[in-house]
Subunit: 125 residues, 2 copies
DNA sequence: GTAGATAGGTTGATCAGCGATATATCGGTG
DNA sequence: CACCGATATATCGCTGATCAACCTATCTAC
């Protein structure tokens, strides 16, 4: 499961946001690790394949939101990314827009489903 | 504002969900009204243009999630849609998946932004 | 050596969103 | 009546993101 058309589109709207968030958290990270961070953070839900990840990073860099720097000092050839000032601003505004949108959808869903659905409050389970 | 690349992709992941939710709320509704309901429910954020709306409805119908019926009795030629049994099941499961995903992204964002950001609690504004 | 993980990358097919465009009706105004 | 804007549905074509598949290269372990 977790690879239907719905799941892909679900992820689509928050992929950039998730990657920017990971970089904000870590300060500095490289593609392969970002991939694992997103996969783990999402509970294996978001697989973020290489064919999506690298074009995405290049797109964010071209937009001036992240900065790259090659690092071979560890033996492994890695391209590290970090947020630019514009990237930090973008993360903030995109996060606000995302949260606002989530509130709207939750409102629509409120009369339809149980918002504290399966896995909602693990502490009480 | 509210029509950037980010906003479009933001919406993409929950458009089907929003339309299904509106139909679950209303029981029975037609395209033009669904369009207005979504626009209002989203605080004018989601415009849902005709070029998106109608292909979307056709797709949901082809998938057996909604059922259509023409109605000319009011003078206006309208195509009413309602959820099928499969559509109700799908709404429930998609809503659960969406809520689970939202929880993950919120977790990633928690260390980055204020989750009760602007417009969070209108009562206190 | 060779298999698998790490690390980065591209390409092509697919498909959804949406602006533009088309059609038709209804109600109101000049 | 003619005209216009709102209502109502629909399609076409462009754009752009996702991702399976594929490629290269290095490191570790067997």
């Amino acid at each position: 499961m977790a690879d239907s058309k719905f799941d892909r589109d679900l992820v689509r709207g928050s992929l950039d946001l998730m990657v920017l968030s990971v970089l904000a958290d870590d300060g500095r990270n490289y593609g392969y690790e970002i991939q694992r961070r997103v996969r783990e953070a999402s509970g294996e839900r978001v697989k973020l394949p290489a064919g999506t990840l690298y074009p995405l990073l290049h797109r964010l860099e071209a937009a001036g939101l992240i900065l790259s720097q090659w690092d071979d000092s560890t033996g492994r050839r890695r391209k590290f990314y970090k947020l630019s000032a514009a990237g930090r601003r973008r993360l903030k505004s995109d996060a606000d827009a995302w949260l606002a949108h989530v509130r709207c959808v939750r409102l629509l869903l409120s009369s339809v489903v149980d918002l504290d659905g399966p896995g909602g409050e693990p502490a009480s389970a």
